[in-house]
């Protein structure tokens, strides 16, 4: 026997189930607490003979299961009801029945993971080394022998009495187990291998992250393409699914869009921006911070792509068209333009709803309330723009004509500063001799301008494309426009 400081304990070997049960009973009655039995097969009643306490594992599992279920419910409540509201199958945002399967899964997941991990913790695992494993005799614990091991750490342990106890229990052999002098170090080769594997394991992760997250000039690698490119029909594309071959379904005969027709009659001001042909000057929805924030958000989604975040008519779509040098491109309206700043809010609302020239109406895609919010937002940013002092002596016809020039979108192609854009500049135009396509000339008088408005491409100015659409003006608008043109002729 070596010195007792290095003693791990004492091991007793037994030959049968009955012997180990009797031995366990005796060791328990002798007051030992730090000891264990090792058997090659599950022995019924051994736990009771050893006095092993009931495990606390079920309680851990129960609490983990309830926690998992509650978290699963909370997660779905937050995702579906608060963070990312989406109407699915016409159900309420927070539908308990729809959450149950996930609650069931999270309950089972938490309970089973808790059971697994707690089992490790309660059993003191992982245990890399047990001195018993060095005993030659102990190998038979997996075959045909039963063992009792008393730990030297037990307060009742004594080299003589403990081994005597095992012998008196009927042990066929009793041996002392020693602690190794030095705890064996993990071999360097294993350490190196593990480190290498850990490093290598990061490579796929890094590749995936680079493929998904980094800015790339080449198209990304799509391992699961249908997650990135969902199969769908585009609005004007062909589909074999329907008899008429269209992907977009036409409106069914006899039906009408809810907001546009059915409700308009009930509250025309709210849905058209007009009452008895007069534009509303007060929005039916009161101005508030919340409405303004909503309007800003909706503007950003529906309007900013063309009109730009600053509403100066230079949105990303415009910038892209300029970048590509599109010859036919006409800049979207600068929403700070004077003719818009003096529009009543009802007219802004109408423009958003039914559209202006190239701009489509947004009544079908943006709710009336949101359109009012956008109108509010527009007015709030317009009011920040200084329109400059008004000359009290100026002919009011000039100002009116300028508004016609702006609101009828003449300004999209005709400048007032002499630089030709897609069409001749209005500066110095009125009363001048114009050279036409085909070699003739004509004086730009009222008659010519009237003709050109109605039939713009008939007498085309030399060097310009036939782009201009016919413009219909009232007599008053025409007169104002002429006044305005005359003011530019000087």
């Amino acid at each position: 026997m070596s010195n007792s400081e290095k003693l791990h304990g004492v091991l007793g070997e037994f030959e049968s189930v009955d012997q180990i049960l009797a031995a366990a009973e005796m060791v328990k009655n002798s007051g030992y607490t730090k000891w264990d039995c090792y058997t090659p097969l599950p022995v019924h009643g051994l736990d009771a003979a050893m006095g092993v306490k009931e495990t606390r594992l079920p309680w851990v599992v129960l609490i983990a299961g309830i926690t998992g279920g509650a978290l699963g419910l909370l997660m779905q409540y937050w995702m579906n009801g608060i963070d990312y509201k989406m109407i699915i199958s016409g159900k309420p945002m927070n539908s308990l029945p729809a959450s149950i399967p996930v609650v069931f899964e999270t309950t089972v997941l938490f309970a089973s993971i808790a059971a697994f991990l707690s089992m490790w913790i309660f059993n003191g695992l992982p245990k890399w080394f047990n001195p018993l494993a060095r005993m030659e005799r102990f190998a038979r614990a997996t075959d045909d022998r039963f063992f009792v091991a008393l730990s030297a750490k037990d307060p009742n342990f004594d080299v003589k009495t403990s081994s005597a106890l095992l012998e008196s229990c009927g042990a066929s052999a009793v041996e002392f187990v020693e602690e190794p002098d030095e705890p064996a170090a993990v071999p360097t080769s294993i350490k190196a291998t593990m480190a290498t594997v850990a490093m290598l394991a990061l490579i796929p992760l890094a590749l995936i992250m680079s493929e998904r997250g980094a800015i790339k000039k080449q198209p990304r690698l799509h391992l699961v393409p249908d997650m990135d490119f969902q199969e769908k029909f585009r609005a004007q594309s062909v589909s074999g699914l329907f008899a008429d071959g269209r992907a977009a379904r036409p409106q069914i005969a006899g039906t009408f869009a809810l907001e546009d027709d059915a409700l308009v009659g009930k509250d025309p001001g709210f849905y058209t921006g007009k009452v008895d042909g007069e534009y509303l000057t007060e929005a039916p929805i009161a101005y508030s911070d919340a409405i303004l924030a909503r309007g800003e958000e909706r503007y950003g989604i529906s309007c900013a792509p063309c009109h730009g975040g600053d509403a100066n008519g230079k949105g990303p779509v415009h910038n892209r068209a300029v970048e590509l040098g599109s010859p036919m491109w006409i800049q979207p309206t600068d929403l700070h333009s004077e003719h818009l700043t003096i529009q009543p809010i009802g007219q802004l609302f109408e423009s958003i709803s039914v559209g202006v020239r190239n701009m489509p109406g947004y009544a079908k895609t943006v709710s009336a309330k949101d359109r009012w919010a956008i109108a509010h937002y527009l007015q709030s940013i317009q009011s920040t723009v200084d329109t400059g002092p008004v000359d009290p002596n100026a002919d009011p016809g000039i100002a009116a004509g300028k508004l016609v020039y702006m609101s009828k979108a003449c300004m999209a192609c005709h400048t007032t500063d002499g630089s030709p854009l897609l069409a001749p500049s209005f500066k110095g135009l009125f009363g001048s001799e114009r050279e036409l396509e085909g070699g003739t000339t004509i004086t730009a008088d009222e008659a010519y301008i009237k003709d050109s408005l109605l039939n713009p491409t008939a007498k085309l100015a030399k060097g310009f494309q036939p782009l201009m659409p016919p413009a219909v003006l009232t007599d008053q608008e025409f007169a104002d426009l002429i006044t305005f043109l005359k003011s530019l002729a000087d």
Binding site: L62, S89, P97, A98
Partner: protein, 410 residues
């Protein structure tokens, strides 16, 4: 801890069995007579009585079929733990003749509908399709017609009678000759019998219970009934074992371990019931197709809604936590309480399945339901316990008896 010297002998309790069956018969007769009288007093051409009777009949049917499945599953898995309680399962399944007799009064609603024309018949509205859904029901007439219905019902009862007779007879025979060959034969035949069982219990549920609303359909319905049936038979076995225990019978043979296992089955099938019930509900709720949803609409929007929501708690949440603890399952007295509870809520479940089809607007619960339920259960107890006067309560010829008695749960 294996018992080394198991005495293989019959456990007979003829006087106790005779007394119990007598009580069952008395309760059965009194219950049914009272139910008929109360039904006649209602003056609704016995409509209420017949619906309550169908509930009671279905309750009995699940006990019998639950017994059959319990026995078959022990054989097909070669179970050793269950030998000591299997004979009681065999008694329970061997009540098919009673079931057949109890089915006879149901012939009346098949052929008469005097006074109840507005409902399309006493029980099954497909017999005389009428009203707005007549065309829908008419469409199903190649399947749902009296002749075919009777033929199918006869087939189910006949099939069950043959299978249950066979398995009881073999088991009793084994008591005499103690031959292991019977175990092998039963194991081989139990597998095809389970297939037959699955098909017949499904179709019987469709025919007898689901067709009380002939426009509605749910393919999982048979599984739902099966889940309840297996729950009910385990409850019945626990109650029976505890009943015998209090009379000092089978105390050695049915140990804590067997209570524990029956309790585990009840725990599992409480969850299974909820799983199936919810599966049926969620698919219908999600798809929201009118002809499917209407069945739940009757149950969750009108007078029945407290029953429907209550069922979630009475049949799942409460018994689940009741059964969950190991202590409950290893404590015969406590387990007996939960078994009795389970049997009662199983009846409530069947009541909830059937009765809204009679009346979606009001809950017609009255003494008629209670007396028919007691009557049918009384008859069942009579047929169930009467067999113990002739046969041993223990399948003492089973070669696995030692393993059963020495069985330990970890």
């Amino acid at each position: 801890m294996q018992p080394t010297n198991v005495v293989r002998e019959a456990v007979m309790a003829p006087s106790l069995a005779a007394k119990t069956s007598r009580i069952g018969l008395v309760v059965g007769v009194i219950g049914m007579v009272l139910a008929v009288l109360l039904g006649m007093l209602e003056g609704d051409h016995m409509r209420h009585f017949y619906w309550a009777y169908l509930v009671a009949f279905s309750f009995m049917f699940t006990l019998t079929l639950g017994g059959l499945f319990f026995v078959l599953i022990q054989h097909v898995t070669g179970a050793r733990w269950s030998v000591s309680v299997r004979r009681m399962g065999e008694f329970a399944m061997n009540t098919v003749p009673l079931l057949a007799v109890m089915a006879l009064p149901l012939l009346y609603p098949l052929f008469t509908h005097a006074g109840v024309e507005e409902f399309g018949g006493l029980l099954w509205p497909w017999i005389h399709p009428h009203g707005e859904h007549a065309a829908l029901v008419e469409f199903k007439s190649p399947f749902l017609n009296v002749g075919f219905f009777l033929a199918r019902s006869t087939f189910y009862l006949l099939a069950w009678w043959i299978v249950t007779r066979f398995f009881l007879k073999k088991s009793v025979q084994q008591d005499q000759d103690q031959s292991e060959a019977h175990t092998v034969t039963m194991r081989k035949l139990s597998a095809p019998s389970i297939i037959l069982f699955a098909l017949t219990i499904s179709f019987a549920s469709f025919d007898w219970i689901m067709s009380t609303d002939p426009t509605w359909f749910s393919t999982i319905f048979g599984v739902y009934i099966f889940g309840g049936a297996f729950l009910a038979i385990n409850a019945l076995l626990v109650i029976s074992a505890y009943y015998l225990r209090t009379r000092n019978v089978m105390t050695e043979q049915i140990t804590t371990e067997h209570y524990h296992d029956l309790g585990k089955f009840m725990t599992a099938f409480t969850v299974f019931w909820a799983y199936i019930a919810f599966s049926q509900f969620m698919l219908i709720w999600y798809a929201n197709i009118p002809e499917e949803t209407v069945w739940f609409q009757h149950r969750v929007t009108e007078a029945w809604s407290p029953w429907s929501y209550g069922l979630v708690f009475t049949n799942f949440v409460i018994p689940f936590f009741g059964f969950l603890s190991r202590w409950t399952k290893r404590n015969p007295k406590v387990l007996m309480f939960w078994a009795a509870y389970t049997l009662v809520v199983h009846w409530v479940d069947i009541y909830w399945l059937i009765m809204p089809n009679m009346d979606a607007e009001t809950v017609p619960f009255s003494l008629v339901e209670i007396t028919t339920a007691l009557g049918a259960f009384g008859f069942f107890v009579w047929a169930y316990s009467r067999q113990a006067t002739k046969h041993s309560l223990l399948a003492y010829g089973d070669p696995n008896l030692e393993r059963c008695l020495g069985h330990v749960n970890y």
